[in-house]
Amino acid sequence: MQWETVIGLEIHTQLATRSKIFSGAATAYGAEPNTQACAVDLGLPGVLPVLNREVVTMAARLGLAIGAKIAPISIFARKNYFYPDLPKGYQISQLDLPIVGKGELEIELEDGTTKIIGVTRAHLEEDAGKSLHEDFHGLTGIDLNRAGTPLLEIVSEPDMRSAKEAVAYMRKMHSLVRYIEISDGNMQEGSFRCDANVSVRPMGQKELGTRTELKNINSFRFVERAINFEVGRQIDVLESGGRITQETRLYDADKDETRPMRSKEEAMDYRYFPDPDLLPVEVSESLLNEVRASLPELPDARRNRFIEQYSLSREDASLLTSSREMADYFESVTQVSGDAKLVTNWVMGSLSGALNREGKEISASPVSADMLGGMLKRISDNTISGKIAKEVFEAMWQGEGDADAIIDKKGLKQITDTGAIEAVLDEIIANNPKQVEDLKGGKDKLMGFFVGQVMKQTGGKANPGQVNQLLKKKLGL
C-alpha cells in the first residue's frame, strides 16, 4: 500500500529578553545553579507574576512576520501538572486567546518549488527548570535558573508531507526568529527546539491517522532522522495488522530510534483555567504600529529584492538571505566593489569555505565586508587576477592587512607592461619549438600551454587575456 506522511511541528523558541517573562531575574545562560531563580520563579507563596513588556513585543514581531493576526486581547492560563522542576505545580501558558493567530510561512523544497505551511497559532509561556539525574545519592538535583524563561511556542498546521519538508520549515522558522531578533536560536543551549506530531494514512484517505508526538528534538539532523524512523515504524505496525497508539515518544539519537516516553495509563489532564494572577493582555493598535515600523526587511522580501536588484539566481539569493548577517555582509561588499555577481561568488565560495573550515560565524569573519570589497575592486580594475586574489584573500584572513597593503607588500600587482610580458613570451617560444610548430599547424589547445607557462614564470601576475593576444600577434595567428 502507498502511505502518506502527515507532520505538524510545535517549535519552542526562547525569547531573547534580559529578564524572565514574569519576574526580574536574569535569563543569562550558564549561570551557577539557582542563582537566577527569584521568589516568583520558585513559586513561593504570596508572589505575583508581572508580565515583561518585551515578550509581548517579540510575539507581535513574529506574528507580523508570518502575516498573522495579533490578538487585541489575549489571556494566560494555568497548565497543571506535578513535576519537581515546576515548583508552582502549574506552568503559565496560553490556551484560549493566544497572542498570535493564524499565519503562514513559505518553504522551498529540494526541487526548487515552494510550499506554504500554515501556522495555527503562537502563544507565550514560561519554561520549566532543569532536572539533573546524575548521582546525588539516589536523588535528583533541581536547577531553577531556566524556570520562568520566556518561550514562544509556534504551532504549525499538519501541512508537511515528509521529513525533508519538516526540516525545511524548521530551518526557515529558525532563520526568521533570528532575522527579526526575537531569539538567538542557539540549539545547543536549547533556545530553539521542537516536538513533531507524526502520523501516516493510506494515500488518498481524507481523515488523519493516529499520531504520535516526538518530544524535544534540538537539531535539524535529528528531526529528519526521528521522523523517518517513526514513519517507518508506524507503517510496519499498520502493515502487520496492528494499530498506532497515541502517545509521546522520545528520539534516541545514539540508537536512532523512538520509544514511548510516558506511561499513558493515566492520561495527562492539565486542567487548564485562566490564571487569576494575570489580567488580560492588550496589544494596542499603536503598539502594533510601533512594532511594524521596527521590523527589518524580511527574508523573503529581501531575497526577491536581491533577484531583482542584483540579477542573482533564486538559489543564490536564497542562500545569501538565509541569515541577516550574511545578507548585510553581501550588501556591504557590493556597495564597495560594485560587481554583485563577483561578490556572490566570493561570499559563497572562498569566504564561506574559510568560515566553515574554522567553524566561524560571518559576524566573526577576520575579513570584513570592507576588506573583501576593497580586494574585489582590485580584480575589477585589473590590478590583480582572480587567481592572485585567492592568495590576497588568504593573507587578509591571516590578518596581514587590507588588500592594497598586501598587494603592495608582496608585489602581486598584475604585469600590464607589454614589454615585460613579451620578453617572457619570447623566451618560452624559443625554448619550445615543437609546441610552436604544432600550434601553428592548428593545434589550438596549445594556447593554454603557452599562457600557462607565462603565468608560471610570472608567478600568476600576467593577465591571461593579454598573454593570449600577444601570443597570437607574435605567431601571426
Binding site: 526580574g24 519537581p84 494575570l278
Partner: protein
C-alpha cells in the same frame, strides 16, 4: 449526582491528595452540588454577554525588561530540606 466515586478518586490523584475511602461518597455529593449549581447558572441567557477572563475589568500592567533581582540563593535554600552544589535535591524522578 453529576460526579461518581471513580471521578472523585481521579481528581484526588491529579491533585495528589490522599483521601479516605469512606469519605469519597461525601466528596462526590458535595462536589456534585457545586457542579449542579454551575449547571443551573448555565441556564441563564448570556448570548449577548462577552466572556470574561477575570473579574477585574482592567488590563495587565507590563514591566520593563530589566533585571531587578539579585542572587539570593543562600537565603531561599534555608527552607529547602536538602541542597547540594547549589541544587535542590528531590526524590528521584525518571520517566
Amino acid at each position: 449526582m453529576s460526579l461518581d466515586n471513580s471521578e472523585v478518586k481521579r481528581i484526588a490523584h491529579l491533585a495528589r491528595l490522599v483521601i479516605d475511602e469512606q469519605d469519597i461518597s461525601i466528596y462526590a455529593h458535595n462536589l456534585s452540588n457545586i457542579l449542579d449549581l454551575v449547571e443551573q447558572m448555565s441556564s441563564v441567557p448570556t448570548d449577548d454577554v462577552a466572556p470574561m477572563a477575570h473579574p477585574l475589568d482592567t488590563l495587565q500592567r507590563l514591566r520593563e525588561d530589566k533585571v531587578t533581582e539579585t542572587n539570593q540563593r543562600d537565603h531561599f535554600q534555608l527552607v529547602a530540606p536538602q541542597v547540594e552544589n547549589g541544587l535542590y535535591l528531590v526524590p528521584r524522578v525518571i520517566e
